[in-house]
């Protein structure tokens, strides 16, 4: 059975089913991260003192720049498809995956430095919420990489069969990816700078 309204818009919503689906998923993600941000506020308000300057701001800033750059390459991967430029699309999508991998490598170095000095989640409330929030965000990055790798590999076949449906799938991937970037835009100042 084919999924209806993958290319043409549904008359009542004016949307493809995939677009509405990804936005509803993102809405649930807002609540997931929102609950953790709320937890952060409660923990911070209740703490007699809160550590400042424990994290590597330089690495955090580099990772912020990397994620913003990856959002740019992601939107360009979609725009290239809309302009019927397949090779540029591939280049931008590969660039997005590479930037995402560099983000995770940086994160690994950060975690390794914490591990080496024994700064683990059981050591302080700050470290507990830091590892929870950045760990969950890191899993989202990993999820994005898997989806993009699929569209670079076996998922790319769809372009020959149904280019519009493929373009829409890249748009939904992009919406998810920009959301992951958006979460980091808030995580970075909250954890690294305040």
């Amino acid at each position: 059975m084919n999924i209806p309204y993958t290319v043409e818009e549904r008359p009542d919503s004016g949307l493809t089913n995939g677009k509405l689906g990804i936005w509803l998923f993102l809405a649930s993600e807002v609540m997931l991260f929102g609950a953790l941000f709320s937890t952060y506020i409660i923990l911070r308000m209740g703490a007699p003192e809160w550590p400042h300057g424990e994290l590597n701001v330089v690495l955090g800033t580099i990772n912020t720049i990397i994620l913003i750059g990856s959002s740019m390459t992601m939107v360009m991967a979609w725009a290239s498809l809309k302009m019927h430029d397949w090779s540029k699309h591939r280049l931008y999508l590969i660039a997005t995956v590479v930037l995402a991998l560099v983000f995770l490598v940086n994160k690994y170095f950060e975690y390794a430095a914490h591990y080496a000095t024994g700064e683990l989640p059981d050591k302080s409330t700050f470290l507990a919420i830091y590892f929870t929030l950045t760990g969950l965000h890191g899993l989202h990055i990993l999820g994005g990489i898997i989806v993009m790798a699929y569209f670079l590999g076996p998922g790319a076949k769809l372009y020959k069969k149904n280019p519009e449906q493929f373009t829409n799938r890249i748009e939904y991937t992009g919406l998810y990816w920009h959301f992951v970037d958006l979460v980091w835009i808030f995580l970075f100042p909250v954890l690294y700078l305040l």
């Binding site: 919503s13 929102g34 609950a35 100042p189």
Partner: protein, 113 residues
């Protein structure tokens, strides 16, 4: 939303503008944190800048500035849920279970020993 190649080319210009602005705001966020303002001012400034950056990502990269009303509807519901979540910490202020009760010490009574 616009989808013909010509309007996409125009959109690309706005993507580049937003990308440059996001970079500038990132530098501003880090620079501002070097000044040691009081905690309330530092939090306000950081969150205002993060909100501006977030709106640019959502509005332009995620095309929310020209989306269909069903998506706005879903997001309004999400915003309500998010605000409730953010107000949960203030409820904890009302919870006095476990906090020490300060009872006025009774005035010392001289019983005449």
């Amino acid at each position: 939303m616009h989808s013909d190649p010509e309007s996409i080319r125009k959109s690309v210009r706005s993507y580049i503008t937003v990308f440059v602005l996001l970079m500038i705001f990132t530098i501003i966020t880090v620079a501002v944190s070097r000044f040691h303002f009081g905690v309330p001012i530092a939090i306000t400034v950081a969150l205002v800048i993060a909100s501006i950056k977030g709106s640019m990502v959502a509005g332009v990269f995620m095309h929310l500035s020209y989306e269909r009303k069903w998506i706005y509807g879903a997001l309004i519901l999400t915003a309500v849920g998010f605000l409730i979540l953010m107000s949960v910490p203030s409820f904890t202020m009302m919870d006095h279970i476990g906090t020490p009760i300060h009872v006025e010490a009774p005035a010392a009574e001289h019983t005449g020993h």
